[in-house]
Symmetry: C2
Subunit: 199 residues, 2 copies
DNA sequence: GTCTATATCTGGATAGAC
DNA sequence: GTCTATCCAGATATAGAC
């Protein structure tokens, strides 16, 4: 059904990829079937051969977004490395997927809260899986004594993913280096910004 | 023109406040003049007595959003306190404005990137003023030797504001305490999450 | 200051030719 | 698998009564 090929080699894939970019830029309601079709060099009616409705396109875009970033981060976390390097690597993987590789991932971040509730609900399971991936990793770090005792894992994960996703609002991968960005974020988050640790 | 009164005491203010909530929830294109009017117990045609167009409502909503959070944070930063307390206070002020007081602020965060470019451009100046407020404060901290030398102020400001704005996606002020949230965030950002500081 | 009525356009979705 | 043509609901905005 959904393929792993990065580019869009079927019409169906091309429609999904195009829709993701448009949703990301204009929001859910700001994208019409006519516009999607136009960007795929098709007519609107033809889309309904591949998809039953606009919302079906939406659901697939949202799920693919999480699945792609999940796969990227999971691959990095499977590699054995120091806690600092694993955190750096996982952050870098998330940022690359968000900013460079996947319009699905960025679309998910931008429009998730404004899609119809039934659509949102049908993507919650995939979302929870990604959260669990991070919580598992951070739990390991804590169990290994690498995190401060008073750091709450869920709070940190929410702050981290929030900070990473927000780069979408200002970072341009044409102008900056995503890996450098990841290193800077990882350093600030791991070590803090204050010269002296205190209360 | 724009008043400081928290609630909406004129019809014009009520329209703006209602529009902000709707924009925040449904996105720019997802809100119609009919819907705004309906939520204000009016008919769509009546809105045009107060505003020339939907985009004019939008511009005012966006600018009010930044102005409100700017005022809240600036007020806190005027108070003399320790670096840690000032950071905590500024973060708390931003989060309160975002999550509790101002639908304008949350609307701004959610829809800024999807509004028509001319509208976005007409609000850039107000935005820059808020960024300058934070950069000024962080610059003071750095000049006073309170920040690590290798922390880049712009990077941190972007990460911080991004992390704070992202709370909109998951935090419910009915269920959690915004001040506690602010304290946790300030602590993690100031001191980091790792047990030992390192590379 | 708000209403009704309307002009004009664009939206999602379907039917049926090819 | 893609097209054209079309239905109908809903969009912004305007005009003019009250």
């Amino acid at each position: 059904m959904t393929q792993d090929t990065p580019a869009a080699d079927t019409t169906r894939d091309r429609v999904l990829s195009t829709s993701a970019s448009l949703f990301c830029r204009y929001g859910y309601a700001g994208v019409s079937m006519r516009k999607i079709a136009q960007c795929c060099d098709m007519k609107a009616g033809s889309l309904y051969y591949h998809f039953a409705s606009k919302d079906q396109i939406l659901v697939e875009v949202l799920n693919l977004g999480i699945e792609k970033v999940h796969a990227a981060v999971a691959a990095v976390l499977r590699v054995d490395a120091s806690p600092a390097d694993r955190l750096r690597g996982a952050i870098a993987a998330h940022l690359h997927a968000l900013l460079e590789y996947s319009s699905f991932t960025s679309a998910n971040v931008r429009i998730f809260r404004q899609v119809p509730v039934p659509v949102r609900d049908s993507t919650l399971e995939v979302r929870r899986g990604y959260e669990a991936l991070w919580d598992g990793f951070l739990g390991e770090l804590k169990a290994g004594g690498h995190l401060r005792d008073d750091v709450d894992i869920r709070s940190f994960r929410l702050m981290l993913i929030g900070a990473l996703n927000a780069t979408l609002e200002w970072f341009d991968p044409e102008l900056g280096d995503v890996s450098e960005l990841a290193d800077r974020y990882a350093d600030m988050l791991a070590n803090g910004i204050f010269a002296e640790r205190g209360t």
